[in-house]
Symmetry: C2
Subunit: 422 residues, 2 copies
């Protein structure tokens, strides 16, 4: 069964350029895991007439219509009413959803007064499957009508992303006769075109399972997907492909079915009962932020210092004034002293440091934008890795944090630091 | 003249969820500046039949069709051919564009061999206006046919963004008689539905200027937009609306035409020549990261400590063991000692601290998920604000950082800390 889907985002804020349509990206990613073809994304404003017209078009060209946005409590949140109308459905007041909304205000929003319009969100199309919203007030839903499946998801990206997992995926998996499984192979330090070059023959020769690359910010994700009668069979089909990828890409693979470099680093530290600290200059806390994105981070991450100024590098981390003067803050010497200082001050087993030039301008010693030194201290070991993280500022900082985490991974796993400058 | 536009992105990579459609966001932003209404975004894959169908639909509902993507040298780059066909145009070989492509390979791509397919990019619709590509090889173009304006821009975001400025804006400004201006009013501490409740009458009564709310993560953005013969007239029309909003929302407005709370805090600190430090527990560096997102942050932000463990709170910031034992890390007392410690250790004029429970679980003293203490120390002043930041973890951390920045703003501007728990 080859189903096709159209994603219909409802939201004037997207048409005004206020936000990018990341919900469509998240939904597309989920559908590609399921092997459902997405032929169109459409964005339409909070205007019932234009939403109706867009739905009429989508009906003609897709089996599944997935809407995002317009489920909230305000007067321009019209998705449910409009879609119900388009498919000749009535809305009913879902007491269970209403109670969830009341409870959310009572328990989790600590005293925020619930205005009555919030209960509008509990009106849902008759006969629908309700998708609970684990991160917000507006429930989503799905129904079948006129031979089409209609799914409605909330607009706020965190709510949409959560409901894709808890609502959309289970619902759509039932439509497909087969189980679909996928594994995500995560790669850092090798660019997308190099990965593709190395794997082109393998990729083009595959039908089931499939292998597809996705460029992430400064990383590459390879997704292996198999359709089979059950999970075990799917896994067995994918195993040889994964092995082949491992052979080809080697140590640039930092994890399979992990979410991020920080998750991989956390896992390694936890397995070895090691603790970590970070000393950050140009990244301004991004490494610490990413390490503590992970629940339970306190087991492995003791803390970090953001030493943006030289005085903080000296005062907080004990980098010597002489080093700062002679070599500058952006230098191998400073990076190593920062890492040693962080290890000692925080009493951590391993510390990483980052110092470099995020831009937009080169520094007063003429160091170019994108130049970053990553220091590492562990026991009596120290090392420094010099990398180029490019521009603009935000990409430079992300890449620097990636390199810092990758440096810990490589050090602990005794993998040589082969620097492919990206 | 009220022109409407549709943005048609051509690219299978968007439908696969590989990238978000940020080109459409950039084009939309430019069109909203021009007062051209964008009623639809459409994304279609690199498939000539589906592109044709999408163009047929766009012709019926827009005066201006702007395509992004599909102008490159590979076999699936079919936008120009397909659009030319749809409007009965021939392509010609544009020698000037061809020479630019040859020159670019010779000069800027340092020895990369130019394969012949690169010259495909020099085929353009007869009679078009050519848009030079300042960042890449593929030229864009614009033509008028069947009463519609068709503009084609390249897909890579940096190329698209540059061509919006150098090609699209000048071309479309000629079409439009009116200027359009907008101002963004940024609000923290009051939820979207409360803002709407308070402003509903004002909003629904307006036609030009308009006033529209947008929920950001934990914030609300109100955009006022006016169309007029010139900028001054537009500003004059918006002024009374802005005043009315200020009267109604008051101190919850943290800035007009600023990008973020951190920008507002940076501006206040810079104006007063004050320096800042941060002591973060649950936010793990997010406040420092956000303060240093701003280029030139080093003028106001000295540094920060991420003290995730109690030992780091004591060792790095000098929080007393007694306080940590008696009141716990998540307490008013610890928050204040953290802020005082950060102020002293970093030698900053003002320091903010955050300690709380990000979840997923409550802490070992039974403090609930979402409870956060924000401490502040400045000169001899200390204060603590107790706030609830909700869940999930990522939202709790974002909200806690928002509250910390808002606390600095309110303290320095002598605005009472009215806590509306969101």
């Amino acid at each position: 069964m080859n189903l096709t889907a159209e994603i219909l985002a409802v939201g004037t804020e997207i048409l005004l350029g206020n936000i990018a349509n990341t919900d469509a990206q998240d939904v597309s990613n989920a559908l590609s895991e399921l092997g459902i073809n997405v032929y169109y994304h459409t964005v339409v404003g909070d205007n019932p007439q234009r939403v109706r017209e867009a739905v009429d078009i989508a009906k003609k060209r897709a089996d599944i219509i997935i809407t995002t946005g317009g489920l909230g409590p305000t007067y321009d949140d019209l998705t449910k009413q409009t879609l119900a109308e388009c498919f000749g459905k009535e809305l009913y007041f879902d007491e269970y959803s209403a109670q969830r909304i009341r409870d959310l205000f009572a328990k989790r929003l600590h005293g925020a007064k619930m205005t009555e319009n919030n209960l509008q969100q509990a009106y849902l199309p008759v006969g629908c499957t309700v998708f609970e919203n684990s991160c917000g007030t507006a429930p989503g839903c799905a129904f079948e009508a006129e031979g089409k499946h209609v799914l409605m998801l909330p607009g706020p990206p965190s709510e949409c992303r959560a409901m894709i997992k808890t609502g959309l995926l289970p619902y759509l998996k039932k439509l497909s006769g087969l189980e679909i499984r996928s594994h995500n192979i995560r790669i850092f330090g090798m660019g997308e075109s190099s990965v593709e070059d190395k794997l082109r023959d393998l990729m083009t020769g595959l039908e089931n399972p499939t292998l597809a690359p996705y460029a992430k910010e400064g990383e590459v994700l390879l997704r292996v997907t198999a359709k089979a009668a059950n999970d075990d069979e799917a896994d067995a089909m994918m195993q040889p492909v994964i092995e082949k990828v491992k052979e080809t890409i080697g140590d640039f693979i930092y994890g399979i079915d992990v979410d991020s470099l920080e998750e991989t680093v956390s896992n390694i530290l936890r397995e070895r009962s090691l603790t970590m600290a970070a000393a950050e200059s140009l990244t301004g806390g991004l490494v610490a932020k990413r390490m503590t994105d992970i629940a339970g981070a306190s087991q492995v991450f003791i803390g970090g210092a953001v030493t943006y100024s030289n005085s903080a590098k000296a005062g907080i981390l004990g980098v010597s004034e002489e080093t700062l003067e002679k070599y500058g803050a952006v230098s191998e010497q400073s990076a190593i002293e920062m890492a040693k200082g962080a290890k000692e001050k925080f009493g951590a087993d391993i510390a990483v440091s980052l110092t470099g030039v995020a831009g937009p301008d080169s520094d007063d010693r003429g160091n170019p934008v994108g130049l970053v030194y990553i220091g590492l201290a562990c026991g009596d070991d120290v090392l420094c890795r010099k990398v180029f993280c490019g521009s603009p500022r935000s990409r430079c900082r992300t890449m620097a944090a990636n390199y810092a985490l990758d440096t810990i991974r490589r050090y602990l796993l005794k993998i040589p630091m082969e620097d492919k400058f990206m």
